[in-house]
């Protein structure tokens, strides 16, 4: 690697990886999924749904396994189990005295465990490590098609309803009082979250997908006080992290998922320290 770096110019650093077909595909898929998850992450962080994102992304696992076993697109299974887990969380919370964060932890680990057992019992060619840690370098054509469809759906919902969802996060009481169906928005946002979790599962896997769903939003939140700018910054930082992570993983020959999330975390730390208004160095100066 040192030899390669020494022998090449910055242009070849960028061009050599994508001369391989699988790298180009990985780069494009990661960037697309990153952008979509980045946009969604704004709503997750502002609504305070980080834990919910973690729960849903883990809970989709049995759905993915069942869908594979039945020959359905994995998005269908993930969607059913993602939304189902939230319904179960809501039901248990309402009917018992157990606190919400406990219920969330309890339900998603239960679903996740069910997924583990199903993988070991159902005969299939699913590789557990691919689900857990992603396999964007070896992504199949049919998975790419599914991911494209999922991203298109999520993007369409988020773009058409972006004002309503913003208002729903900011002041649901006002939203309801002017006749906006907040119950529908709630479940729509959860459905979109389930779908995005499946898309993110392709690139970084179940364990790290929650990073895709919150870190870009958190980074952007530190950089601006305007919602529109926040969404742009979140998408930009997420796309950059995904693409950058794929490059870093190529040149260091290390885990793609790990690299993508590490770049995201690095960007967050930059914002945390140096953000113009909300960074900690700025706060100390003023």
């Amino acid at each position: 690697m040192t030899l390669l770096l020494a022998a090449s110019t910055p242009l070849t650093w960028l061009l050599e990886p994508i001369s391989h077909g699988f790298m180009l595909r990985a780069l494009l898929v990661s960037a697309l999924v990153g952008g979509v998850c980045g946009l969604l992450s704004c709503y997750m962080t502002l609504k305070g749904w980080a834990l919910m994102g973690d729960a849903v992304s883990h809970a989709v696992m049995p759905g993915v396994v069942v869908a594979y076993a039945l020959g359905l697109p994995f998005a269908v299974g993930a969607f059913v189990f993602g939304v189902g887990s939230v319904a179960v969380i809501g039901f248990v919370k309402q009917k018992s005295r157990v606190k919400e964060d406990t219920v969330i932890g309890l339900v998603f680990t239960g679903f996740f465990a069910l997924g583990l057992v199903l993988i070991s019992k159902i005969r299939s060619n699913i590789d557990l490590t691919h689900i857990l840690f992603g396999n964007v370098l070896g992504i199949s054509d049919s998975d790419i098609t599914d991911t494209l469809v999922i991203c298109a759906i999520v993007l369409a919902v988020l773009l058409v309803l972006r004002r309503d969802l913003m208002l729903f996060c900011f002041d649901p009481t006002h939203a309801r009082s002017i006749g906006i169906n907040t119950g529908l928005l709630h479940y729509l946002l959860l459905s979109v979250l389930s779908l995005a979790a499946v898309a993110g599962l392709q690139t970084v896997g179940i364990i790290l997908v929650v990073a895709m769903l919150i870190t870009p939003g958190a980074t952007a939140y530190l950089l601006t006080d305007r919602f529109d700018r926040m969404t742009l910054l979140a998408v930009a930082s997420s796309v950059f992290s995904s693409a950058g992570g794929v490059y870093v993983s190529y040149w260091t020959d290390s885990s793609t998922a790990g690299c993508i999330v590490l770049v995201q975390t690095f960007l967050f730390l930059l914002a945390f320290f140096f953000a113009p208004r909300h960074g900690i160095f700025r706060q100390h100066q003023s």
Binding site: R176, S177, I178, D225
Partner: protein, 264 residues
């Protein structure tokens, strides 16, 4: 009711509640509550914590459906009134996330969402309404400030501006004078007078009895039901207040109550 006012026809009523009962998870939060509020009045809503003030607000906004009785707003069902943006709710200062990345202008623009198309694209008339509303609450110069950079009083005015931009005919205010400085209090009182002239009706939920005496021409006393309503001078008697606050001696009740606790 004073004889000088025109007789109340149904068309002059902003809020009409008839024997409304509201169940809340199996417990009766409000029973047989009846209320008629005409156009152009400032009405205080007074009751203890848990007396049903929030429940009444929620029923008026259509969040809770009465199990018995009916509510009409401007002669329409609550749902129809909602569609016409007739009811605006002005939250308590701590009722919203102040670190949310929106500007004052954005917040006031939210009052226009109900009358925009699905994509909520603001047109010239929406911008004009927001501009005008900000002018009325004297926040025009601060329109680009993030909502979190405002003082408590300024934030309250921003949410009032949102109700103005919405052009609501019924305003529900939750503890509007909490944490508000004297200048804002004066400005709000002036605004309430203007609203009354514009035939809007304001319902103010408050613990602070001195404010009711100073600003409200009507008062509604509630304790699980509407105990009394009407002209402040007639209804705001020590006997009625004692009833409202569960038999506490009236002299304790004539000053502002220290309680700042919110209703659940």
């Amino acid at each position: 009711m004073s004889a000088a006012r025109p007789p109340l026809g149904p068309d002059r009523l902003r809020i009409e509640a008839d024997q409304v009962c509201v169940d809340y998870n199996g417990t009766m939060a409000l029973h047989d509550a009846s209320l008629r509020l005409e156009a152009g009045c400032i009405c205080g809503l007074v009751g203890m914590n848990g007396a049903g003030k929030t429940t009444l607000f929620k029923a008026l906004m259509g969040f809770l459906r009465p199990s018995k009785g009916y509510i009409r707003i401007n002669g329409l069902s609550v749902r129809q009134a909602q569609r016409q943006q007739a009811v605006a709710y002005v939250p308590q200062s701590d009722g919203v996330d102040c670190a949310f990345p929106v500007s004052v202008w954005d917040v006031v623009m939210m009052g226009r969402y109900g009358s925009m198309n699905l994509l909520r694209v603001a047109g010239a008339s929406d911008r004009a309404a927001v501009h005008h509303a900000l002018e009325r609450v004297e926040l025009l110069e601060l329109r680009d400030r993030p909502i979190g950079a405002l003082s408590g009083g300024q934030r309250k005015r921003a949410f009032l501006a949102r109700a103005i931009a919405q052009d609501a005919s019924v305003l529900l205010l939750d503890e509007p004078f909490n944490g508000v400085d004297v200048r804002t209090e004066k400005l709000m009182a002036d605004l309430f007078m203007q609203f009354r002239k514009e035939q809007r009706s304001i319902l103010i939920s408050t613990h602070d009895l001195s404010h009711v005496r100073n600003f409200c021409d009507r008062v509604v006393l509630i304790n699980k039901t509407v105990l009394a309503y009407g002209e402040t001078s007639e209804v705001f008697t020590p006997e009625n207040l004692s009833l409202t606050f569960g038999g506490l001696p009236p002299n304790l009740l004539m000053g502002p109550t220290p309680s700042r606790e919110n209703e659940r």
